[in-house]
């Protein structure tokens, strides 16, 4: 128990400043210390209470340590408890002083009152001062043999605490073996449960470097032991039951009789009032059915298990606090997504209630979406439409999205389209915005509905739509269905005239494309608008907009028909939108049922491993917390840095092999983007172009004039930064890198997008490293698993020994690379970043 860092709290002006009070307390305590007058205990109690209150509100009372210890020579258990509390809080900060307490704690461990023995032992183990470990062994040993179960319970946890302070001392004293025999023979359930918890933790930590521990860990899962626990499960309290059930999950049953035996044993656990017990039981059931060998039997069993666990879970959802039902719902959500048909008739359970917090509502909406099928769609959509008028805007949006998703997964969308179009008539900004996006998606999948939709969409004034996504959707429809909407070119023209006021690059990109599409369908009306759009696009400061405008311009210059085939090919209905999560990841989450993974909807390695979290997330957090008057200590982030760096500076080769494997079986690169399709088509075209170009040059000049685009609109080359020469044979040893990385500030952070070829090439181990090396940028460490890869690079200036250190995180699913540059010479870090970007952009290109 570290001192409750006084600095981390806000000292409020009304609080006593502390100094004078503490000296006051000190003298009073000193007076009382020697006194044996009757009633002295009562005044001591009051004083102690005061000391502890001060300690809690953040006043440093460690200066009265000596006096407290002096006063603790008492038989009054109330005083003793408070004294232990005080000692526990300040011992870690004052190892010297805590030596003083060892004596009386050890003496108390032999007290005749079991409660005092237990408390003293707990306090002794909670001191967490490494050099006092030797004093722990004796009391712990006798505590484990104590005839009182309360003391034994505490001693068992004490062993675990000792293990965390000093693993070797704990192992050498053969405490694990003692715990094991206690676990098997003790009559008290809590002692057994604590033994189990302690042993699981100790052995799984030891298992990495000791074969014996590995074997012991396995032996916890042996059949007799599992049955020993499961048969006695009712003797344990609810928390211990969770522990045992968690153990049973890992047990591999020998045959189907075994499976059914366990299920029968645990059947009544599903009725337990504690949601955690029920979930743990559900997990056991699910795992057991997965381990069945007979496929037919398995399918039957899974269905019957789902049927059986359904009602207890649904009951739990509707009872208890919203937070609890959120935890249960998250798990239910996982099950619903896996087996929607089983829950199809229970859709009413997932209707939102007005007083539920929005995180619960969101989950429920997702589940309603998942279980919608022919039989219940009508009811569900009716209910969802009610939510669209919800006062909580976020929920209203979500429910509209839910309606849209249902429409996308159903064959009979007739009724839903009507509903969606009714939303547009509600004339609420956010409803219209969400609906437009949905209508766009719907049209991409079911182009046959275009006539109904377009007539309504055409009536919407583009001025009322502010959200970029919605605006983009509207513009897309204007472009795509220009022939059906009489005033499409004029709406577009209006929008294009306000080019300057359009802040979202996404909208500008869509404007360009829509203008092109419209031009191909209704050239005379759009010609002027397209000209303005291309000119504005080429002058745009946003790289993508600029590039796309330039590309359109050139492809028009080259041949209008080719341009049409590129920009506005015949429509193809999208059969299915890309799933965001691979099935492998879903399975992993399922394996980690009843844990945080389910809540976060990602497997545990993504949020517990440092590599995946991104190394400096922690420090950034702290950076942003610095608004608080005092950030208590920077020691922790520094340690974190170190830990991360050590992790990363393992040899590169080793990690790359793993990485190669893992990225192969993960479908990381799916691009459900329209824009990326276009860009790949662009590239194809650009390559096949030159052969025919000679014939059409003439016509393209005419075309220029037609568009009213002076040649002056051609792009001015961007001023190239001063070229930076890098030393191809630079060297830096990892230790020096580490040191520098810690010392230097981040001079530059940038994000690039990586081209698809580059992402594809990432799957080959070492490829990026070799590629960068050819550009004189050397890799010092790398790691990560798909979709997140991380590299540490360094480079050196050609002439002088000035280093650039770079951390590069590449996310292969979003095709983004984020780099952080630290440099000896800060002024050139921009130049270096440019070199880096150029090198990266060539990655994967033949």
């Amino acid at each position: 128990m570290p001192p409750p860092a006084a600095s981390s709290r806000y000292p409020s002006p009304s609080q006593p400043s502390g100094k004078s009070e503490v000296t006051d307390l000190k003298s009073q305590l000193r007076q009382l210390a020697g006194s044996r007058a009757p009633g002295v205990d009562d005044s001591k109690r009051d004083l102690f209470k005061k000391v502890i209150s001060y300690m809690t509100i953040g006043i440093d009372v460690s200066s009265v340590f000596g006096e407290m210890v002096m006063c603790s020579a008492t038989s009054d258990i109330v005083l003793k408890k408070m004294c232990y509390l005080y000692v526990g809080n300040y011992a870690k900060g004052n190892p010297d002083l805590s030596l003083l307490t060892i004596n009386f704690l050890q003496r108390d461990c032999k007290d005749e009152d079991p409660m005092i023995r237990g408390l003293a032992l707990r306090s002794l183990c909670s001191l967490r001062v490494p050099n006092l470990v030797e004093y722990l062994l004796g009391p712990l040993g006798s505590g484990l043999k104590d005839n009182n179960s309360y003391v034994r319970t505490i001693a068992v946890t004490g062993v675990l605490k000792l293990y965390h302070i000093s693993a070797s001392t704990c192992i050498d004293a053969e405490f694990p073996a003692t715990l094991k025999s206690l676990m098997l023979h003790d009559s008290d359930a809590q002692v057994v449960a604590n033994c189990l918890a302690a042993l699981q933790e100790i052995w799984s930590l030891e298992a990495s470097h000791s074969e014996e521990a590995c074997r012991e860990k396995e032996s916890l899962l042996s059949k007799p032991l599992i049955y020993y626990f499961l048969n006695r499960i009712k003797e344990f309290n609810e928390w211990a039951q969770c522990l045992i059930l968690e153990l049973a999950v890992k047990y591999v049953p020998s045959d189907s009789n075994d499976i059914f035996d366990i299920m029968n044993l645990l059947e009544d656990r599903l009725q337990h009032a504690n949601g955690a017990v029920v979930l743990a039981t559900v997990k056991v059931f699910l795992q057991l059915t997965l381990s069945m060998t007979d496929v037919h039997q398995q399918v039957c069993a899974i269905v019957s298990v789902y049927e059986r666990i359904k009602s207890p879970l649904l009951t739990l959802v509707s009872s208890g606090s919203p937070e609890q039902s959120y935890a249960i719902l998250s798990h239910l959500h996982l099950l619903v997504v896996r087996a929607p048909f089983i829950f199809a008739s229970d859709y009413k359970h997932f209707y939102c209630q007005y007083n539920e917090p929005s995180y619960v509502k969101k989950l429920k909406l997702e589940m309603l979406t998942a279980i919608a099928n022919e039989s219940n769609t009508y009811e569900i959509v009716t209910e969802l439409c009610e939510y669209a008028a919800n006062v909580d805007i976020e929920i209203a949006r979500e429910s509209i999205r839910a309606v849209g998703k249902i429409a996308l997964q159903q064959y009979d969308v007739n009724a839903i389209v009507d509903r969606l179009l009714q939303f547009l008539e509600m004339e609420k900004d956010y409803v219209t915005a969400e609906t437009l996006v949905l209508v766009k998606d719907l049209l991409r999948k079911h182009p046959q509905w275009s006539h109904d939709c377009i007539s309504v969409v055409g009536g919407i004034s583009s001025k009322n739509i502010q959200e970029p996504k919605a605006k983009a959707a509207l513009i897309w429809m204007l472009g795509e269905y220009a022939q059906d909407m009489s005033d499409a070119p004029y709406i577009l023209e209006n929008l294009i005239e306000n080019w300057e006021e359009e802040h979202s690059a996404e909208v500008r990109l869509h404007l360009l494309t829509a203008a092109m599409k419209c031009f191909f369908k209704r050239a005379p009306e759009t010609q002027k608008a397209l000209g303005i759009a291309l000119a504005a696009g080429i002058a745009d400061f946003h790289q993508d907009v600029h590039d796309r405008a330039l590309f359109y311009y050139r492809v028009l210059q080259y041949d209008v028909h080719v341009a049409e085939s590129v920009v506005s090919p015949p429509q193809q209905a999208v059969s299915a939108f890309a799933d965001t999560q691979s099935s492998e990841i879903k399975d992993r989450i399922f394996d980690e049922f009843n844990s945080l993974s389910v809540i976060y909807q990602k497997p545990s390695y993504m949020f517990t491993d440092k590599e995946h979290r991104g190394p400096f997330e922690f420090s950034e957090e702290l950076g942003s917390t610095s608004i608080t008057p005092e950030v208590s200590s920077d020691i922790v982030p520094a340690q974190q840095f170190e830990a991360n760096d050590k992790d990363l500076l393992l040899s590169t080769d080793e990690k790359d092999d793993n990485k190669g494997l893992s990225s192969n079986n993960c479908s990381a690169y799916t691009a459900p983007y329209e824009s990326s399709n276009i860009s790949s088509q662009m590239q194809e075209l650009a390559i096949s172009g030159p052969a025919a170009s000679a014939t059409t040059t003439q016509s393209s000049f005419d075309f220029d004039d037609l568009l009213g685009l002076g040649l002056s609109a051609a792009p001015a080359p961007t001023p190239s930064p001063p070229l930076l020469k890098l030393n191809p044979r630079a060297s830096l040893d990892p230790r020096a890198f580490q040191q520098k990385w810690r010392q230097l500030p981040i001079s530059l952070t940038q994000e690039y997008s990586v081209n698809p070829q580059g992402i594809a090439a990432l799957t080959v181990p070492q490829s990026l490293i070799k590629h960068m090396q050819s550009h004189s940028i050397h890799c010092i460490a790398s790691g990560g698993q798909s979709p997140n890869f991380k590299f540490f690079f360094f480079a050196q200036k050609e002439a002088e020994p000035s280093d650039y250190l770079t951390e590069c995180i590449i996310n292969s699913s979003s095709a983004k690379a984020q780099i952080k540059v630290k440099a000896d010479d800060q002024s050139t870090s921009q130049a270096f970043a440019t070199v880096f970007e150029t090198a990266l952009s060539k990655f994967g290109m033949p």
Binding site: A5, R128, T153, W239, C242, T628
Partner: protein, 242 residues
């Protein structure tokens, strides 16, 4: 492991730490600052009650004007965490005389420390049943001055019962007449639109029980329901919590 909680924090609405207990050393004390900036200051109502910041996950609940935050560093069992908080609050309430708020906490620092030490050890939940803890917690809740039980005299055998699984019932009870009184209280809630459509209706029921039974009998209660709720309605009242 179900919940190896690293620490538990009690914060007021401004984000000041009222009281905290660190069970393990694997989270930094300044994580609570991250909680303050990222969760409390975002002002979004209906925020998800489980959040990850840095390497830690925060499982939190708001009860009246207090945030109770459990910090875990591993892939913990969330349902267990919430249940623990709920039970702990019930326990505190039974000490504070029904109210659980900022003032009650400020008046009962020592008691809360004592309780936190007993209900969780090194991150593992131990025993949370108020009946048992009352037998050997030395402090009294400030809010309940009338329940003047003789304090600091631990009831004999208290520690024997501390670890028992049947937390809500003392051992060695005996009554002359073995009787059970049962009350079933049901209420029907109905929400109707102005047109007369039933928008929502539900029934909530409680089974209240006054029990004078000797020893530790297993008691099974069956509810016969002609509507055909069948098996679900067969509920075991007392042992249901076992």
């Amino acid at each position: 492991m179900p919940v190896a909680a690293s620490a538990i924090y009690f914060l007021n609405l401004r984000g000041d730490v009222l009281i905290n207990r660190t069970y393990r050393d694997d989270v930094g004390g300044n994580m609570v600052d991250a909680f303050r900036t990222h969760i409390m200051q975002t002002k979004e109502l209906g925020n998800c009650p489980v959040r990850q910041i840095g390497g830690c996950s925060f499982v939190y609940m708001r009860i009246s004007n207090v945030y109770i935050v459990i910090v875990v560093s591993s892939n913990a069992n969330v349902a267990c965490g919430f249940k623990f908080v709920v039970e702990a609050v019930a326990l505190f309430k039974s000490y504070f005389g029904g109210a659980f708020d900022e003032d009650a906490i400020k008046n009962n620092f020592v008691l809360i420390y004592e309780l936190l030490d007993e209900i969780m050890d090194f991150g593992y939940p131990q025993n949370l049943s108020p009946e048992i803890l009352k037998l050997y917690i030395t402090q009294e809740g400030v809010r309940s001055p009338f329940s003047s039980k003789p304090k600091d005299k631990p009831v004999p055998n208290a520690t024997l019962q501390v670890t028992g699984a049947v937390g809500w019932r003392r051992e060695g009870l005996s009554y002359k007449k073995n009787e059970v009184f049962l009350d079933i209280v049901e209420s029907v809630n109905l929400l109707m639109s102005s047109k007369g459509n039933v928008l929502r209706c539900d029934v909530t029921g409680k089974v209240l029980m006054k029990c004078f039974l000797s020893g530790m009998p297993d008691l099974k209660l069956g509810l016969n329901d002609k509507l055909g709720l069948e098996k679900e309605s067969e509920m075991k009242s007392r042992p249901a919590k076992r």
